[in-house]
Structure formats: structure tokens, C-alpha cells
Amino acid sequence: MSEPTLSLADERLTLANRFLLPTQLLLVFIVAFPLLMQLYVSMTWWTPLDGESWIQAWRSWNWFDNFRYLAVDSDLWAAIWRTVLFVVIAVPIQFLLGLFLATMFVEGVRGRPVLYSIVLMPMMVVPAVAGYIFFLVFQQQGPLNALLATFWPEASNLNWLSDVDRAFVAVIIADVWQWTPLMFLLLYAGLMAVPEDQLRAARILGAGWWHRFRYIALPRMKTVMIIALALRTIECFKIFDMLYVMTGGGPGVATESLSLYLYKLTFQDLEWSYVAAIGLTVLVVLSAVAGLLINRAAKAANRDVVDAGARTPLAARPAEA
């Protein structure tokens, strides 16, 4: 009579599951529960003004009316459009600037350690504080206009934050200032991972700066680039605190991002069920987009792993294939 025995691998799995159980329970409460609650509320007309707790929200059950409404909500779509515009302008600028800085650092630049700290500093500033800094910078009597006025006297009449277009430009500048360092950091790491000897070999073969970048560095940096772009796109899409402090979404709704719009809906209009519906939709769409990007990055990374296998010490490899 033999007892059914578990293989070592099975046992390990069981043990692992036991250890993971508390975490999984915790996750149910902090992720699954709010999500379900949100889904529930999003299918009602419930608002805290009803004077009932959210559990009674079923009284105003409306199925998918909120979702139907968001599809035609012109304020929402305007906010989304502004956010997308913001992302497609700000992120590429951050990317190119970051790449330029990273290349400069790799090629060797005077006073690198000092410059390094200076370049990274904006990233350390709390976004709300950065918003406040730029709120001051872009004042009509602010330092920027004073500086511009030294060679263009009319600059002192420029009003940045109360002009629809200029306010948009101003927030993009602020965001670029704050987040180029992150791009730089990621891309610098990517560039550093490009094998030095291959760059030198390419150089000896007559490759100039562009060819070295195009044929040697770029193929190896693809993964890092995709990750950096995905990270900043997602983050930038959610921009809130800096805008809230700097312009409050104004003038009018000129700099009102999606997050800011949702915030106003939530705390000024108290349309909680509608906000829940929008939140869910954004979550689903962003997850799909991010999933797609990460999938691509993983594929690129896999290719790199194959390459890395080829970089094992030569002596350790068989002499004949």
C-alpha cells in the first residue's frame, strides 16, 4: 500500500501557492473589489447627491446608458483629443532630446558627472512643484518674458497662461522639462549596453557617426526604446498634477487633460457613475494598447536573448559547428 506521492515539482508548486495565498487575497480586496464596485456603479445613475449608499445604486439601474453617453460626450472627446495631442507632441520631443543627450554622454562630454546630476534633477522634482515653478516662469511679469525682452522688447506683453495656444505650448515645455531626464536615463542605459567593441569595429571599417548609430546601436536599443516610449506614453496620457497646479486646465478648457476632466466631473459635478464608466473604458483601452506594446517589446527582447547567447565567452564554445 503506497501513498500517492507528489513529485518534487508538484510539491514546490503547492508550497508556492500556499505562500502566495495571502498576497492573492490582498489583491482581491485592493484590485478586484474596487473594479467590481466600479463596474456595478457604472451601470447606474447613482451619485452621492442621492443620499443613498452606493450599495443601493441598483435603484437607478440603467444598463449601458453611461457608456452610450460617453461615446457622444463632446467634452470628453475634446479632452481625449487634447490629451492625445499633448502625448504625440510631448513624448517624441522628450524621446529625441533624451536620445540626443544620451548620445552626447556616450560620445564623451566635458564635466560629465556634474552634467549628469543637472540633467537628472528635473525628474526629482514633485510634478505639482514643477507645475508651480512653471506657473511662475510663464507669468507675464515672469523671468521668461524678462529674458525674452532683452532681445525682443514686445515679449513683456506676452501672456502665456491665459492664451489658448500659448498655454498649451507652455504645458508641453513644462512636461518636456520634467520628463526628458527619464527618457535620457533609459536611453543612456540602452546605449551603454551596446557593445563597445562592435562600435569600434564599425568605426575602423569606416562607419561614421550615423552609420554606427543606424546599424549597430539602433538594432540593439530597440527594446529599450519601445519600453521608454510605452512608459512615457502611458504616464503622459494620465498627466494631472502639473496641469492642475499650472493652469487648472485653463484658460477655459485649453489644457484640460482627460484626467483633469475626470477630476472635475468627480469633484465638481459629482457624476460618479459616469466617471466610473469612463474610468473603466480608459482602463480597457489602455490595457489593450499597453499589452500590444509590451508584446512587441518582449519579442524584440527575445531576439536580444538569442544574441546574448552568442556573446558567451568564445573560449567556452565548441571550435567546430
Partner: protein
């Protein structure tokens, strides 16, 4: 095709001198090895020739062209790195055509050149594989082919064989020599392996501590080392060097002081001129020398022969081995004389016994004399037939004055 000329080229990193100013003239089509231990400045020298490192002093010329200030990408040298630096994210074809690609050559020309080179390097079957999948010998051929395809006049190789295991290295060594002969380029080859250098190179530049020690053919470097360093570095086991004192007015050198086994040997004929010059110049340490002989130059051992029966120019020296090693077909006897370790090698059939004195038989042509202070070889007359000059006769540069300390 092009020669390489280094004129007073040196390299300093801050206070540290990596390469002392040196002159080196590599002729067109010549295969020159730069030989030395790690950190001797040989790779730095190579990198300066390639342009990967700027020079602190001096000029570098390829043929008549002064390339000292030209950037790497315009010097047009081929360079094979120690780890080959193959572009592992590209196919073999892309690797081969890279040099032509960045020169902007048309696709048809690239294709023709790649196919020719692939055939030459026996890589045709691999052309469309990822370069990362190649074996080590193929990687090496690819590295050479990739550099050779742009037809550089000068080819630099940085320890290309050091990643290979011993058996395969042997084969690549002969392959490399063949490739060089077929391509006919000027090759500069950095290595720390003396066998590689001796076997491959037309001439060897021996470096140590950032200084060029000697630049000559492998044979001359072995036969006439310029100083104690080169003498010890080339050959294995390395040359025996022991302190010696000129005695009897410069006719003989005494080794071993007053220790047992000490002896005196005739000053070899080819050094007589130098020795008499030295004594004539005088000075406190003029009689102090270093005597060297190679372990494999020792004949014998025989015993019981009458002194002087060996004919002119042959010396005998009776010593008792302290330890005997047998390595393959060689038998190595270890001796000790006044604190200096000496070695002699014989065929393994020769009977040797620890503690039993044997005669080391040395031809005078196999003895070397070095200055005790700067460790340079004493100037010698060219080694042709051993000169028949008799002991005690005045040297060609004047009589020996009785100097003895």
C-alpha cells in the same frame, strides 16, 4: 600596400607612461609581431597605429602619408579584435559587406565582393545565417574577411588566437600565415605568445614596460638578444642568467664567487673586443657582468674528460643537479650556484642523478655577456665561424691592461 613608420611615438595617460617614445619601421608586405607580457604597451601601440588611441608624441606614417591626426574611420586599416567584435545581430553577409555598405558602394558590387570573400574564407554556406550561430573558427575567418573586404593596405590583429584552445590555435596559426601570404598585406600582430610570434612573424618587436626592447627577425632575437629581458623572455625554459666577474685581466669570467661549484670560463671570442674596451674605460663596476646561457645549449653531460681536450671554445663546468624533471622527451636538470637557479635540458635518454656532479659542456658561442647595471648585451662581433683568436692575445681594439679588482 603600405609600410608603417613610427617616429618617436609615445603614449602617456596623465603621469603614467604607457608607451615610451619608440621608432619602428615595418616594411611593405611584412608580417610583424609585437610581443610582450600583458600591460607592456603592445596593445596601446597597436591602437595608436589604428587610430583608436591618440599619440602623445611622435608621428605615424603609412607609406608617405602622415596619418597621425587622421581619425580611425579614414585611416583605412583592417583590425581584427581579440574577441572578433562580430556584429551578432546581423547575418554573415551583412557582416562581410558592412565596410562596403558604409562606403556607399552599390548593391551589385557589394554582392560580388561578398561572394568572392566568402569563398576565400570558406564561408559561402553560412552567408545567410545569423553571425551569432557561427563556431569560433568561422567567427575568426569572418572577422578577417570583414576587414579584408575593403582591401586595407594595413592589417592589425590584436591577439586573434588567444581565445582558441591549444589544438585549434595550432591550425589557425598556419591558416593565418597562408591568408597573409595570399592577401599580401602589411600585417601587425599583437601577441603575448612567443611561439606564435616566432612561428608567424617576419620580424618581432619585443616590448616590456612600455619600451621597445628589440626589433629583429625571430632568429636574431633568439640568437642575439639585446638585453637580459629579451634573453629571458624568449625561449623556454628561459635563459640562465648569473652574476659574473671578469678575472685574469679580462681573459676569463668567474661565476659563483666562492661557492662550491664556482668556476671560471674563458671570455667568448666574440666579446673580447668589448671586454677589453670595457676594462680600458675602467670604472668601479667595469668587471661586473651577467653571464647567460640557454638551458638547451648545454651539451653533455659527460665526465672524466681531460680539461682542454674538447678543443677551442668549449668549456666544461662540473655541477651537481638538485632536482631532475622529465617533460616529454626532455630531461631538465636544476642546479643551484651561489643562490642562482640554473637549468639545463637534455634528451631524456641522458642519465642524470640528483646530487651526482655532471659536466655541463658549453660552446663559447652559446655564452652571452650582459652589463650588470643596465642589463644590455655587450657588443659582440657578428657570429659567423668562431674566430680562432688565441686566448691571451690582445684584442683587435688594443691590449688588455691588467685590471683586476
Amino acid at each position: 600596400m603600405s609600410s608603417i613608420t613610427l617616429e618617436g611615438v609615445g603614449k602617456r595617460f596623465g603621469n603614467f607612461t604607457a608607451v615610451q617614445r619608440m621608432d619602428l619601421a615595418v616594411e611593405n608586405g611584412e608580417f610583424v609581431a609585437i610581443l610582450g607580457p600583458s600591460g607592456c604597451g603592445k596593445s596601446t601601440t597597436m591602437n595608436m597605429v589604428a587610430g583608436l588611441e591618440s599619440v602623445s608624441d611622435g608621428r605615424i606614417r603609412f607609406g608617405d602619408r602622415d596619418v597621425t591626426d587622421e581619425p580611425v574611420e579614414r585611416r583605412g586599416v583592417g583590425f581584427v579584435f581579440q574577441n572578433y567584435a562580430i556584429f551578432t545581430h546581423m547575418s554573415v553577409r551583412r557582416n562581410l559587406e558592412f565596410g562596403l555598405l558604409v562606403q556607399g558602394r552599390p548593391a551589385s558590387e557589394r554582392r560580388r565582393a561578398v561572394e568572392r570573400m566568402a569563398e576565400f574564407m570558406e564561408l559561402t554556406a553560412r552567408l545567410d545565417q545569423n553571425a551569432a550561430t557561427l563556431s569560433v573558427n568561422e567567427l575568426q575567418k569572418l572577422a578577417i574577411g570583414r576587414s579584408a573586404i575593403v582591401e586595407p593596405a594595413i592589417f592589425l590583429l590584436d591577439e586573434p588566437l588567444s581565445n582558441l584552445d591549444a589544438a585549434f590555435r595550432e591550425r589557425m596559426r598556419s591558416d593565418l600565415r597562408q591568408i597573409q601570404q595570399r592577401l599580401g598585406q602589411t600585417m601587425l600582430y599583437v601577441t603575448h605568445d612567443q611561439i606564435e610570434a616566432m612561428g608567424l612573424a617576419d620580424r618581432i618587436a619585443v616590448m616590456s614596460n612600455g619600451e621597445l626592447q628589440q626589433f629583429d627577425t625571430p632568429g636574431n632575437i633568439y640568437r642575439e638578444p639585446a638585453n637580459v629581458y629579451v634573453a629571458r623572455f624568449i625561449g623556454a625554459p628561459s635563459m640562465n642568467i648569473l652574476p659574473a666577474e671578469l678575472v685574469e685581466g679580462g681573459r676569463r669570467v668567474r661565476v659563483g664567487g666562492n661557492a662550491s661549484g664556482a668556476t671560471s670560463l674563458e671570455v667568448p671570442t666574440r666579446y673580447r673586443g668589448a671586454v677589453s674596451d670595457r676594462l680600458a674605460r675602467g670604472g668601479l663596476r667595469s668587471t661586473s657582468l651577467l653571464l647567460g646561457f640557454r638551458p638547451e645549449a648545454v651539451d653533455g653531460p659527460s665526465s672524466g674528460a681531460e680539461p682542454g681536450s674538447d678543443g677551442p671554445g668549449v668549456m666544461r663546468w662540473s655541477l651537481a643537479p638538485t632536482l631532475i624533471e622529465t617533460v616529454g622527451r626532455r630531461r631538465i636538470g636544476h642546479f643551484e650556484l651561489a643562490g642562482t637557479q640554473l637549468r639545463g635540458t637534455w634528451h631524456r635518454s641522458v642519465p642524470l642523478c640528483a646530487g651526482v656532479p655532471v659536466d655541463l659542456v658549453l660552446g663559447e658561442r652559446n655564452l652571452y655577456l650582459f652589463d650588470a647595471d643596465d642589463e644590455r648585451a655587450l657588443p659582440s662581433e657578428p657570429m659567423g665561424e668562431p674566430s680562432r683568436q688565441l686566448v691571451g692575445e690582445p684584442g683587435p681594439r688594443g691590449g688588455i691592461t691588467g685590471v683586476s679588482s
